[in-house]
Structure formats: C-alpha cells, structure tokens
C-alpha cells in the first residue's frame, strides 16, 4: 500500500456542547413560539390575549368575589357574587324534591358508582356480582327516587335540578343503545319491509330538532293515547330522548357494521351460525368496538340535550338557574349562575370524552382480535 498517508486522526476530538439555540428550554421556545415571523406575531397576540383575560377573570371569580350574604344587595364587592350557592345548592342538585327526603337521590347516586364501574373498567373487583347488582340497579333507583316499598311517594313533578339531568341522561343512554343496535341491524336487513320501517324511523327522527320532538311528546302524545291514559312528563321526556339518541346511535353502529369486511359475515355463515348467533358472536362485538367513539359522542350529546326539558316546563339545573336569575333576591347574577351550571356539564361531558379516548387507545393496543 505504499505511503502510510491516511486520514486517521490521532488526537482526541473535543466534545462540543450542542448549540443552545436548538436544545433545552430556549430551543423549545424558539421552535414552538418564534420559529418564523408569522409564528412570532401569533405568539405575541396570544400572550396579549391571555394577559388581558386571565387576570380579569381570576380577579372576578376569586379575589374580589364574595361568597356570603343574604341576597344580592349584601354583595358589595366588584367581583362575582357566590353568596347564593350556600342557599340554593340543594335546589340546583335536587330541584323541588322535599328536603327531608333528599338522602334518597343521594343514596341512589352513590349506588350508581358500583353499578356503573364494572361495565366501564375490565377486571374490576367483584365484577360478576357487581354486574348482577347493576342489572337490579334501575329498580332500586326507581324505588328510591319515586317511592314505594315503605318509602313515601314523591311525584315526579318534584324532580329537578342536576338530578333530573342525570335521570333523563342515564335512562336515555341505557335504553337507547339496545334500540340503536336493533335499528342498525334492521336498516341492513334483507327484508324490505323491516328495512324501510327502520330507515323511515331513523331519518324522520334525525331530520327533526329535539325541541320539536319534545313538543310532539307534550302535545301529540295526549292526542294519540286513549283518553283515560296519561303519561308522566318525565317518562315522556325519557321516551323522546331515547328515541332521538337511538336514531343517531343506529347510524353510528351502521357505520361500524359497514366497516366489517364481508369475509366475517361469510365466515360466520359458513360456520353454520344462525343470523342471531352470527350477529351476537361475530359481527356485533367487532362493529360495536369500532363504533365506541361515535357512541360516546352521541351519549355526550344526549346528556347535553337533557337541558332542553326546560322548554316543556320541567326544572332541570338550567331551569333552576333561569328561575334564580329572575328572582328579585338574586337578579342580574346571570354570569355567576350560568358559569356554575356549565361546570357541572363540563365535568361530566369532559370525563366521558376522556374515557372514550382512553378506551380507544387501550383497544388499539390490544389489537383487533381481542375484546
């Protein structure tokens, strides 16, 4: 090889630190906030926006707010007046439910937790027994809320507040899922009559605003029912909300059913499974799994829609808030009241959407063949 001239270096290289401008917090700030001129402008606008909004809002809600007092006149501070919460929180939660009996909805709510968790989380402790309990739960809760079995009866027109939202929302959720599954299967049925009936129902319900449906329940149901039969207004609302959500869920599940490759249907048939069994064992478990995000979104929508009951004269939490805002003692405290009510819905709906995200990720990790 002749000469030994190589490009090998004999001295050690000096280890250089990475340029400050692209690592660490300064690098992060440069990359995420000031990477270009438009980006910098955007940052400046955003910071200005936050700097004007946050101190004012914080000051209004906490620092110069007042949390005690008899009525709005005793609120002398410039910020929010939270004094009414102390007086009115019972109404916001339970409506006009008699005060001495308010432990009953509270107990029903506490019992809801063990009834619902074994369905949300797999391998929950005592899962099997708790699931049996949750099937019995609707009966227990109805007895607790309405009365009977030794408890004094409470007419449903005393129901109100957030309790009413939860009752209507949860009943709607529980009832609309099976009906939605049946409607989705019916819409894909090979029997023309059943298919067209399902399409007709789904499209009619989805085409109308829920408010119009609630009107219908209020005005048309008495016309269509026999003269001596009356339906409780809360039951009517639950029926309408369920029908409304079921139509939307049917469409979500139809999307899931369409996404199942036809090989699955054919394989189930080739195994000799009946229609019912092929749906129960092969198709629906897969289709429902794909549809979970859509189903949860529909549930969130359903829960938000429970506020519409104020239009037909029920006093849910929003109805109570409206009544309070026009009450002379607390008139003009609309911002405080509605922010307070919004918090309730935000907590419930936001946790539902986070749960759906968590479930989606978990199912993705487990792969398509495990349930």
């Amino acid at each position: 090889m002749g000469s030994a001239k190589t490009n090998i270096r004999n001295s050690k290289t000096i280890r250089k630190t990475p340029p400050i401008a692209s690592t660490g917090s300064i690098g992060w700030i440069r990359k995420n906030l000031f990477s270009s001129i438009p980006n910098t402008i955007l940052t400046v606008i955003s910071v200005y926006f936050l700097a004007t909004i946050i101190p004012v809002a914080f000051d209004w809600a906490f620092i110069s707010s007042q949390a005690s007092g008899e009525n709005r006149f005793s609120c002398s501070s410039s910020g929010a007046c939270w004094a009414w919460i102390d007086q009115r929180w019972g109404q916001f939660l339970f409506g006009f439910y008699p005060e001495s009996e308010r432990w009953r909805p509270a107990v029903a709510f506490i019992l809801l937790i063990p009834a619902i968790l074994p369905w949300l989380i797999e391998d929950f402790f005592w899962q099997r027994y708790l699931r049996v309990f949750s099937i019995a739960y609707p009966v227990v809760a109805t007895i607790l809320l309405v009365g009977g079995a030794g408890l004094p009866e409470i007419p449903t027109d005393k129901f109100g507040g957030f309790m009413l939202n939860l009752i209507v929302g949860l009943s709607g959720i529980v009832l609309s899922l099976p009906i939605g599954v049946m409607l989705a299967l019916g819409r894909r049925s090979k029997l023309p009559l059943i298919r067209y009936l399902c399409i007709g129902f789904i499209e009619t319900v989805r085409g109308l605003p829920l408010i119009a449906l609630l009107f219908v329940s209020n005005i048309l149901l008495p016309i269509f029912l026999p003269t001596d039969v009356t339906l409780d207004s809360v039951v009517r609302v639950i029926i309408m909300v369920t029908a409304f959500a079921a139509a939307y869920i049917a469409e979500v599940i139809r999307g899931g059913l369409q996404a199942i490759p036809s090989g699955q249907y054919e394989a189930a048939q080739a195994m000799g499974l009946t229609y019912f069994n092929s749906m129960r064992l092969v198709i629906l478990p897969q289709a429902l799994r794909i549809s979970i995000p859509g189903i949860v979104n529909t549930f969130i929508g359903l829960f938000k829609d429970t506020t519409l009951v104020i239009v037909i004269g029920l006093f849910d939490i929003l109805g109570i808030a409206n009544a309070m805002v026009s009450n002379p003692d607390w008139m003009g405290l609309s911002t405080e009241t509605y922010v307070f009510v919004a918090l309730f819905f935000f907590v419930v709906c936001f946790s539902m959407s986070r749960y759906s995200l968590w479930l989606e990720r978990r199912l993705e990790k487990k792969g398509p063949h495990e349930w």
Partner: protein, 395 residues
C-alpha cells in the same frame, strides 16, 4: 320473484314454511306489518276521538285565519292582522336568516381554529384546545341563554357602548349603520359582477393554458387585483353610490341605522362558536388524514409550501372534511330551534305559538316535519352527490 317463491313453497306444510328462508322472512314481515298497522289504527282512532271530544277540526284551513300576535324579528311585513300562514313564513325566514349567518361564521371560526390548533405555535394551539373543549362540553342551550343574558344586561340605550360613533351596543342589541343605495349603485354592482366574472374567466383560461403548454400564469394575484381595481375605479367615477345612514342618538332611542336584536346576536354567536368548535375538529382530522408521504412527495417534486397546501393537501383533506361538515351545517340549522328559549321567533317557536292558539297540533307538527325533513334530505342528497364525485378513483 313470486315464481321462485311458489317453487320454493311447493310442499306446503307449516314446518317447511318455517324452515324456508323466504317463507320465514315473509311471515316475519307480515307480523311486523300487522303490528305497525294495528299500532297506527289504534293511535288514529284515539286521535279522532280525542280531537272530536276537544271539538277541533283538522285540515290546513286554519292557516288563513288571523294571527292575533306580533312578531318583533321579521324580514317581511307582519302585523297581528296577518294570517297564521304568513307567521309561519316569517318564522321560516328567521330560521333561514340565523342559520345562514351561523353557517358562514361557524365555517370561518372552525377553519381558523382547526388550522391554528395544528400550527406549531404552542400557545395558540393550547388556547384553541381550551376553546374547543369548553364549548363542546357545555350544552348549547346553556351557552345561548348565557350570551343572551349577557347581552341583555348591557347598559341602557342612553349609556350605549360606542364604537367610533358607528356601532352602539346596548341592552336592545346592536345599532349599526345601514347602507342607502342610490340609483348609481347599479353601476357599481355591475362592475363588481364584471370583475368577478373576469377573474373566473382568467383562472379558467390560465388553467387550460397550463394543461396545454405547461406555462404558468399568476392568475390568482392578477385576478384579485382586477376584482378590487375595477369596482374601486367605478366607485371613484360615480358620485356617492352608497350613503351610510349612521345611527344618531336621540333622547330615548336611536334614529337611523338598523338594529340587530340581542336574541339574534346571542343565538348567532352561540351557534357559531359551538358549531365552530366541532368544525375545527373536523378540519383538523381532515388535514391530519392526508398522509405525510403526500407532502414529502410534493416537496421532492419541488412544489413550494403554498402550492403543496393548495394543490396536494387541501383537495385531499376536503374529501374527508365535506361530509361531516355538511352534517354540522344541518345540525346548526336544527339547533337554531333552541331560539325558543330566548324568544327569537323561528319556525319552531312561531309554530309553538300557533299550536297553542289554534290547537292544530298535528298540522303544525306536519309542517315542521316537511320543512326540516326536506332540509335534511336535500343535504344528504348533496352529500351523496359530492361523495360520488370526490370518491377516490382506485386503479
């Protein structure tokens, strides 16, 4: 089909009938038909007896009767002497008004928010995230009532919040200058139309030429210049084609200008921000659905980033965006019926009033159904057409 059926059913026995696919299907449908027919018969008999008992006639004749109520928010003339039918038309127009305003605003908000959330600016994307999560997880009805309560608790007319002596906010809504068109405005309108059509012609010509010869032409910038330049020149030539009637404060109210009621403002704002949050998620998902391979391929072909966005990403993203977007528009239109809670008189609200006054519940509900169903069927027809047009043509 019936021949086939007859052949299948040849040995007529109950067992054969039950174990035959056609026979069983037929039997099942027959049973369902029986149930539905029975159900319909029962409720119609009930309805007839109930209506007779209440002494109500049925039919749409009542639409010609006099409506004894007033409507504040109206686009066409209406007084308490007008008919129920006209009241419904006023309601329909109000629904269309707030829906179209809402759709425009929601689209703008949604696209801006969706793009900002994807931007690499950390603060901006976090602000948008908070906006989206808060508006999506709070009932729309609550938001509408909240904005309405906020707007109606603004200062009284005499202490209006003044913007440049042109816009006044007070508890009766927004007072804004209204344009008065002179006859010479016709020329201005014609020049705007001319500019726009020239621009369209230019774009089409430039695209054809590029397809033919490969030569590019800055059609967008030239076209925009034309659209702005021609009307501006015409505007300078004419003597005041538009005069603005600015509101003047009088002792108790304003003279001149036009007023937007707090109901319309609150409904518009709430619908736009609520639906805008949903649209922003749709836009985000649409843009994310375009795989990075597409962008990289476009980059390696030497396209500039604006071209990549315009020619590669947006057309593909729109294929994903349009179907859910149309259903959001439909949702917004249906949600506009929440107007009833704050007294904005839309189709459902006026229908409800008529229904209470005249007792013609069935007919009013039928009108609602016809209007909303034709809206939603029209939208889904458009969606199907668009899907077919835009569907990925695979090899």
């Amino acid at each position: 089909m019936f021949g086939k059926l007859a052949a299948k059913l040849k040995p007529i026995s109950l067992r054969n009938f039950w174990f035959d696919k056609y026979g069983r299907g037929l039997l099942l449908q027959f049973l369902v038909l029986l149930c539905v027919a029975g159900f319909l018969a029962t409720i119609s008999i009930n309805a007839i007896t109930n209506l007779q008992r209440a002494g109500l006639s049925s039919g749409f004749g009542f639409l010609a009767d006099q409506a004894f109520f007033d409507i504040n928010q109206r686009l066409i003339e209406f007084s308490s002497q007008s008919s129920f039918g006209r009241a419904l038309v006023v309601g329909l127009l109000n629904t269309i008004l707030v829906s179209s305003l809402g759709i425009i605003a929601a689209t703008v908000i949604g696209f801006m928010a969706g793009i900002l959330r994807l931007s690499n600016n950390w603060i901006a994307s976090k602000i948008i995230t908070v906006y989206v999560e808060v508006t999506r997880n709070v009932p729309l009805l609550l938001q509408i009532i909240f904005w309405w309560a906020t707007l109606t608790s603004l200062p009284k007319v005499r202490e209006s919040i003044n913007f440049y002596n042109l816009f006044y906010f007070n508890n009766r809504g927004l007072r804004a200058p209204s344009p008065i068109f002179e006859t010479s405005f016709l020329w201005l309108a014609l020049s705007i139309i001319f500019g726009i059509s020239l621009c369209i012609f230019l774009v089409v010509w430039a695209r054809r030429r590029q397809h033919r010869s490969g030569k590019t032409f800055p059609s967008v910038s030239v076209g925009l210049t034309l659209v702005i330049l021609i009307p501006t020149m015409v505007f300078q030539l004419l003597e005041q084609p538009v005069v603005w009637d600015t509101p003047q404060a009088t002792r108790f109210n304003f003279r001149g200008g036009f007023n937007i009621t707090p109901e319309l403002l609150a409904l518009w704002f709430a619908l736009a921000t609520y639906t805008g949050a949903f649209i922003s998620e749709i836009v985000r998902a649409g843009i994310l659905s375009v795989s990075t391979g597409q962008t990289e391929a476009a980059k390696s072909l030497g396209l500039r980033s604006s071209q990549i966005m315009r020619l590669i990403v947006i057309p593909q993203a729109f294929r994903v965006i349009i179907p859910p977007l149309t259903s959001q528009y439909l949702n917004l239109t249906k949600n506009s019926s929440l107007a009833i809670a704050i007294g904005y008189q839309d189709l459902v609200s006026i229908g409800g009033t008529i229904l209470n006054q005249s007792g013609h519940a069935l007919e009013v509900v039928a009108i609602w159904m016809v209007v909303y169903l034709s809206l939603s069927l029209g939208t889904s027809a458009f969606m199907n057409w668009y899907n077919k047009k835009m569907a990925l043509v695979e090899r």
